[in-house]
Symmetry: C2
DNA sequence: CTGAAAGCGCTTACAG
DNA sequence: CTGAAAGCGCTTACAG
């Protein structure tokens, strides 16, 4: 007999599992989704069948039934390319897992932001993810909120009460980094600020100041240089700091891109890193490991945050469709201080 | 009446469109998918309905019917983090659009590669995407092929006859870059090779040699330094080149990461870029715009290549399921020479 | 605790 | 050229 009915390899469905285990598809579904209300024996038979058949649920089928047809928008303005890349990786990965579509809109300035929001709405998105710095724009959040579109803010340091957020504790992270430099023996520590409109930037600076004050070390005004999170702004800030008569022995940059800029300046001036100058960053984007020496920084689990943002948003969307209403969840992910070769005790 | 039946915003289905246009869902489907076999009048009514209702097809529903349940594997070994990030972005984006699932496996060395392949097969993937350098591993390709798993090779410079591939023309790209440096007036041009096991690396070197030869300029052996596509290898290669008694006025690096390394060395030696040394790269990853000065490089549309790879693989999978067999398609994407600030006429 | 029925949104055959 | 029927794989109510 010609193998007309032969399944393509890998096309094991939940019906195959059910048949193989001698149960109904429903029972198989319950086991696979971890429902407790299944007899132990049946559960084990289903689990065995899943293993033997190599079953993997088809997410298109699942999401068609559960989420219905969800669409998630991402509205961003001008974050670092590397940061956005990593975040999008997480967003797309989770979207694919959850079977939702992703629409991305870029905007620059308030006017183009209204237009971008409009495009997202016309495309029928059911919720929007706001990466920094838009996560801190009350107008943006309000505009979406007024139209009944759920929002999740990513990496805001000042989460709004009723807007779910995914973030790390920027204050504690910057505090840990400052302590680390102090413990190495540095006392003349320069700081390059991030974009002051961006709440994490404010918090990182505050943590730096507080930690220095607690250590009883005065920070001259000239030791805190303005920056905008861009490489270019890191360059000029570092020049400012390194041209001081009494220059710092360490520079704490509010992100990795600015640290890359600071390193370039130091290299240009012939300063050895970390021998004559320690440079540390924040975020741990791919740039950190491309630099030489590799950058000591605070690891922010950006990809995981992207995934978490999608999950949080979907939960919000489902609640809304079901007419439920819950308090906004604020997820604080773990940061990590990653020691690499760009920092050492002062020479 | 309580709005029990009210649709959630954005949940416009093809049935809504059909009703609004006064046709059957099938006719609506045909119009939406661009079938020509529809009367002009009906087509226009459907198109109007799509516009007015803001209809967007639900891809989960579509893919459930068309692709069935496809799963795509990505098997990679050790490419640059930035390169892989960009590629994955394209792969995930297209997968989400096509409603297919993505499974990613990393391997290092032959043994772990067999294990990774095994895991992908057990997960029931219907096809595998091979980024560099695995795209050039005949063993890997053969192993998958023997089990009847379609493969698409990304960024191989030596596409195998019967394995579909997505790539740029590395030879022409490297040729264009070499010409560009020659046209600027450079004659002492150093070259940092990529991993010699990687076919694009071979081709880029060959193009460099050929173009120099055509220009009648001899390339001393010492001007071609070995590298492995890593930042670290770029560092030592650049040291080698810049320590020569008669050092080059320009360095052509086989990728951006190595160019970043070369720049660091130049900065460390106090060489001004591009005044005293031009540095150029290849790929245009995010690193290129993070460096200072920003890097002149060959733009490879990596994200688009990721999308194209998924599409090519899906086509292959569908053909296979339908029992069709076609010749393997080899897609050559456009590169672009991006002039930035790291290159200039010799000082 | 278990299962038969129905349907998520879409498109592939199959009739006209 | 157009449409009624069926089904992709899964899970949500609804009965027992």
């Amino acid at each position: 007999m010609p193998q007309r009915k032969r399944k393509t390899p890998g096309a094991v469905t939940i019906l195959d599992v059910a048949k193989h285990a001698g149960v109904s598809p429903m029972t198989a579904s319950r086991v696979i989704n971890g429902s407790t209300r299944v007899a132990v024996e049946l559960r084990e038979r289903v689990q065995a069948a899943v293993r033997e058949l190599g079953y993997r649920p088809n997410l298109a089928g699942r999401s068609l039934r559960t989420t219905g047809s969800a669409r998630v928008g991402v509205l961003y303005s001008n974050p670092s390319a590397a940061y956005l890349n990593e975040l999008m990786l997480g967003i797309l990965e989770q979207s694919s897992l959850s079977g939702v579509q992703v629409l991305v809109e870029k905007c620059a300035g308030m006017q183009s932001q209204r237009a971008a929001t409009q495009r997202l709405l016309e495309a029928g998105v059911d919720g929007v993810i706001l990466p920094p710095p838009l996560c801190d724009s009350p107008q943006t959040v309000r505009e979406l909120d007024e139209r009944g579109i759920p929002v999740v803010a990513v990496a805001t340091a000042a989460p709004m009460q009723d807007v779910p957020s995914v973030r790390i504790d920027d204050y504690q992270g910057a505090r840990a980094m400052t302590r680390y430099l102090l413990d190495l023996g540095h006392t003349r520590i320069g700081f390059i600020q991030g974009d002051p409109k961006h709440t994490p930037a404010q918090l990182r600076l505050q943590a730096f100041r507080d930690t220095m004050a607690e250590a009883g070390i005065a920070v001259p005004d000239a030791y805190v240089a303005p920056g905008l999170f861009t490489y270019r702004s890191g360059l000029s800030a570092a020049r400012q700091l390194l041209d001081l008569p009494q220059r710092p022995t360490a520079i704490f940059c509010s992100n990795d891109d600015m640290a890359a800029g600071a390193m370039a300046v130091a290299h240009g001036m012939g300063l050895r890193i970390p021998g004559e100058l320690s440079v540390v960053g924040f975020d741990d984007t791919p740039v950190a490991t491309t630099l030489w020496p590799e950058l000591t920084t605070i690891r922010q689990p950006v990809t995981a945050m992207g995934k978490a943002a999608v999950s949080a948003l979907l939960e919000r969307i489902r609640d809304r469709r079901a007419g439920r209403s819950r308090e906004a969840a604020h997820q604080v992910m773990k940061y990590a201080l990653v020691r690499r070769q760009s920092s050492a005790a002062p020479g």
